[in-house]
């Protein structure tokens, strides 16, 4: 028997069931998917917002960094400006301090200084005869410059600023002052400082920049104030220096005038001296002839060739003879001096062995030295062998000095003739030193004057003309040498003189002439 057929599930039902199942699954999947996507989007959105917030926060931090950096940069720039300004100021101060006059001072204030300080406009004016005068102008044309100079004298705002004697700048001025100064100087940023000297305001300095330029800082104001003060001091110094310099120039002119007058007077003195010399020469000549006759007649009378004369008369005649000899000696000295002074004395220069010259003199004076038991030392170094002299004249110098030394040196004393190493190029220095009574200091200056004789006991007892040293001086000068004396009372006296050692030295040795005096 065939089982009863089971009622099969309709395939349609199965298909329907599957479709419904799949549909439900899709719905569930879609629901799940959509839910997850929203969550991701939400998460991404959150992340994005976080990132944006971080970005914005970083940007805000960046703003803070920039503002801090700006502050630091500004501080640094201010510091740099001060340092640069101080450097520039120190440089210009050094230069203007060396200025000798007003013109030079302002030449040394270069426009580049202000450029370095960051200013494009400068006007520096000083008071000159109660009116302002432009000393430095940078950035203003001629018309504007004239306008500003007029304003310095007449504008009430500027007058008030000058009166206050302090720096006015765009940082510290009142609105009214700012507006007025902008009008006058056409500069938004500025410093205006009076230049003050001891006498008050002596000028003013304006520095500034046009519109849209870098703003001014406190450092600028301080630097310009220091510069103004420095200019004021240097200006006063320069004016003072100028005054001193002018006075010194006037003095120099006066000295030159006086020197010229002296040279002229010297010429006159020389002329008079020449006339005097000629007069002495003429008179001496005229005196010598009758003196020779007087001496001749006196000698005849003493010798008894005209007849015997009583002893008393002889004695008087002898005195006449002695005094006549003194007079002849005096006249001869005068004539020699006159001849040397006038240049009429012919000098016969030649090179002579120094030792030979000195030994001759020693021989000549040995009797006198022996009579007073005076020791004569000769110190002639090997280095000096010859002297270039007129031997007959030069010997008179030695003889004169040595005779004087003998005269004033006590018995048993010492006299030294010493030739020193060359003090002057090509010249030998001699000294004749005694251990005599010495010469008072006051008399030393007059020693080489004509007819001067030191007032002492010896001179009172021993006759002399007072011309020996004058003659010696003239002879030394004729050799283009010098003579001088050092003495100490009761110790001794040293006479120094120089004589040439070679013809070259003599030729090269400049005489003290009238021209050289004028040139001096």
């Amino acid at each position: 028997m065939t089982p009863p057929p089971v009622d099969p599930i309709s395939p349609i039902v199965i298909i329907l069931f599957v479709v419904v199942f799949v549909f439900v699954c899709i719905i569930i999947f879609l629901w799940l998917f959509m839910t997850s996507k929203d969550e991701t989007i939400e998460q991404l959105k959150t992340k994005h917002d976080q990132l944006m917030r971080s970005f914005n926060e970083l940007d805000e931090q960046a703003k803070l960094i920039v503002r801090t950096d700006l502050e630091l940069n500004k501080a640094q720039a201010e510091l740099d400006k001060r340092l640069n300004g101080l450097n520039a100021l120190q440089r210009v101060s050094r230069q203007i301090n060396q200025a000798m006059n007003e013109e030079e001072l302002f030449q040394k204030i270069s426009p580049t200084l202000f450029e370095e300080l960051g200013f494009s406009r400068v006007l520096l004016a000083t008071l000159y005869n109660s009116a302002f005068k432009t000393r430095l102008n940078v950035g203003f044309n001629e018309t504007k410059n004239t306008e500003i100079i007029k304003a310095f004298a007449s504008d009430e705002t500027i007058k008030d600023i000058l009166k206050e004697r302090r720096a006015f700048s765009s940082l510290n001025s009142s609105r009214k002052v700012k507006e007025r100064l902008l009008q006058i100087f056409e500069s938004e940023y500025y410093v205006l400082v009076p230049i003050v000297g001891q006498s008050g305001v002596i000028g003013a300095i304006f520095v500034g920049n046009r519109l849209n330029a870098a703003p001014l800082t406190q450092a600028d104001e301080e630097l310009i104030a220091i510069l103004a003060s420095q200019i004021g001091q240097s200006l006063e110094n320069a004016l003072l220096f100028e005054k001193v310099f002018r006075a010194s120039q006037e003095l120099e002119i006066k000295v030159k005038d006086r020197t010229r007058q002296l040279a002229s007077a010297l010429t006159k003195v020389e002329e008079i001296s020449k006339k005097k010399t000629e007069f002495i020469s003429a008179v001496s000549h005229e005196l010598r002839t009758p003196l020779t006759s007087i001496k001749g007649y006196a000698a005849l009378l003493i010798a008894g060739k005209i007849g015997e004369v009583p002893d008393a008369v002889k004695e008087r005649l002898s005195k006449i003879n002695t005094h006549s000899d003194n007079l002849v000696s005096l006249i001869n000295n005068l004539l020699d001096i006159a001849r040397i002074e006038s240049g009429r004395q012919e000098m016969k220069f030649a090179s002579h062995d120094i030792k030979h010259v000195v030994e001759n003199i020693k021989d000549l004076l040995t009797p006198q030295l022996s009579a007073k038991e005076i020791k004569l030392n000769l110190v002639i170094p090997e280095a000096i062998t010859h002297i270039y002299i007129d031997t007959s004249q030069a010997e008179r110098v030695f003889i004169n000095l040595l005779s004087n030394a003998i005269k004033f040196t006590p018995k048993g004393g010492t006299i030294t003739i010493e030739a020193a190493p060359q003090l002057e190029e090509g010249y030998a220095t001699f000294n004749v030193t005694d251990t005599g009574i010495g010469i008072p200091e006051d008399d030393l200056k007059k020693l080489f004057s004509e007819f001067f004789r030191v007032d002492n006991e010896i001179n009172q007892n021993v006759k002399g003309t007072g011309l020996g040293l004058v003659l010696a001086k003239n002879i030394v000068q004729a050799h283009r040498g010098r003579i001088w004396v050092k003495s100490q009372v009761n110790v001794g006296t040293s006479f120094y003189f120089t004589l040439p050692t070679t013809v070259e030295a003599f030729d090269a040795h400049k005489e003290i002439t009238k021209e050289s005096l004028q040139n001096a």
């Binding site: 920039v66 640094q76 330029a213």
Partner: protein, 349 residues
């Protein structure tokens, strides 16, 4: 010198009788121990082994052809085939780097081309270019250096980006109109606050000069700096170099020490390129805007360069309005740029 006296160039010509002479005006002269705001500096080269070719051209706005023609003229003047480097001095208004591409078309893509934009007394108004016995404005002069010497060029700036990146949303040539759809100058207000309040009166003497804008160069992974030189009434920033629209832009910052480090890095790179050869001469072109940042330490960069390359090597530097050359060295980058705020070193070894 940032000015020119009519008699200067003829006098130099008469005194030295140079075969080739090129030069430009500058805001200052940079020496090892001194920065001179006024003066004249010359480097004279007397060598049979180093031939030169020169060219001069008045500026045109067809930048690429302009560069091509300038290079062609200098090349024609060079009487030997070996070429080592090309130096170019342009007027400060030449802000578009396309002319350097034009030069590369003549001289080759990997060829070291370097130079500087002439400068004045930091006003960006009038500059001069010197060519033989004459001086010009709105022109460029080129000097092609021949021979077998090794030439090395390196540029560095030392600035780092600060804050979030922004986008130049509108610009024309060298003017940034908007950044992130705001007037461009707002970027300075945002970062500098009250210190930026007067920049529209004139930006050159404001602290804004310390913070150039950096445009991210994808190809170089570096920042090309742009100096703001003016702010227009609508808040647009006038830059000393072209600024492509859509560029990522950053506010940039540096320290004095970073500037000195950059100089040392550039000098070391020069040393590497020369590979042990002693430099015969060094030329340094430094942005005059950079001088604002380094201030009194201006000579420290030159001193650092000479410490690396040798104190005995003749070296002169000038302050420039732009620096022309690769980003880094030509070894690493074949692209040439009009840089701002950079320090460029050239050495011939």
């Amino acid at each position: 010198m940032h000015y020119v006296q009519p008699e200067v160039m003829p006098t130099i010509q008469a005194a030295l009788k140079p075969k080739r002479l090129v030069g430009c005006s500058t805001a200052g002269i940079l020496l090892e121990h001194e920065v001179m705001p006024r003066g004249l500096i010359m480097m004279a080269i007397n060598s049979e082994d180093i031939p030169f070719g020169v060219g001069m051209l008045n500026l045109t706005t067809d930048y690429r052809n302009f560069g091509f023609e300038l290079a062609r003229r200098a090349n024609l003047d060079l009487d030997r085939p070996q070429r080592q480097a090309a130096l170019v001095f342009t007027d400060h208004t030449m802000r578009n780097g396309a002319f350097l591409k034009g030069m590369q078309e003549v001289l080759g893509v990997g060829f070291p081309i370097f130079g500087a934009g002439a400068s004045d007394a930091f006003t960006y108004k009038k500059t001069y270019q010197f060519f033989q016995a004459e001086s010009f404005s709105n022109a460029a002069v080129g000097l092609l250096i021949g021979g077998n010497s090794a030439a090395a060029v390196s540029t560095r700036h030392g600035f780092k980006p600060l804050g979030k990146p922004r986008t130049i949303t509108k610009s024309n040539d060298h003017v940034i109109r908007t950044i992130d759809k705001e007037p461009a100058s707002q970027i300075f207000v945002n970062y500098m606050g009250k210190d930026a309040q007067d920049i529209d009166k004139g930006i050159l003497n404001t602290p804004a000069m310390l913070y150039p804008l950096g445009i991210y160069e994808e190809a170089e992974h570096q920042y090309l700096l742009r100096n703001p030189i003016d702010i227009l009434a609508d808040g647009s920033i006038v830059c000393q170099g072209n600024v492509p629209e859509g560029s990522e832009v950053h506010f940039m910052i540096a320290t004095k020490d970073a500037c000195r480090r950059a100089a040392i890095d550039a000098a070391n790179e020069i040393k590497d390129i020369l590979g042990g050869r002693t430099p015969k001469l060094i030329l340094v072109f430094e942005s005059m805007a950079r001088h604002k940042l380094v201030g009194r330490l201006a000579t420290s960069e030159m001193l650092a360069i000479k410490e690396v390359l040798g104190h005995q090597v003749p070296a002169i530097g000038i302050y420039s309005s732009t620096e022309l050359g690769p980003m880094g060295s030509i070894k690493n980058s074949k692209h040439l740029y009009v840089h701002n705020e950079n320090l460029l070193i050239f050495a011939l070894g």
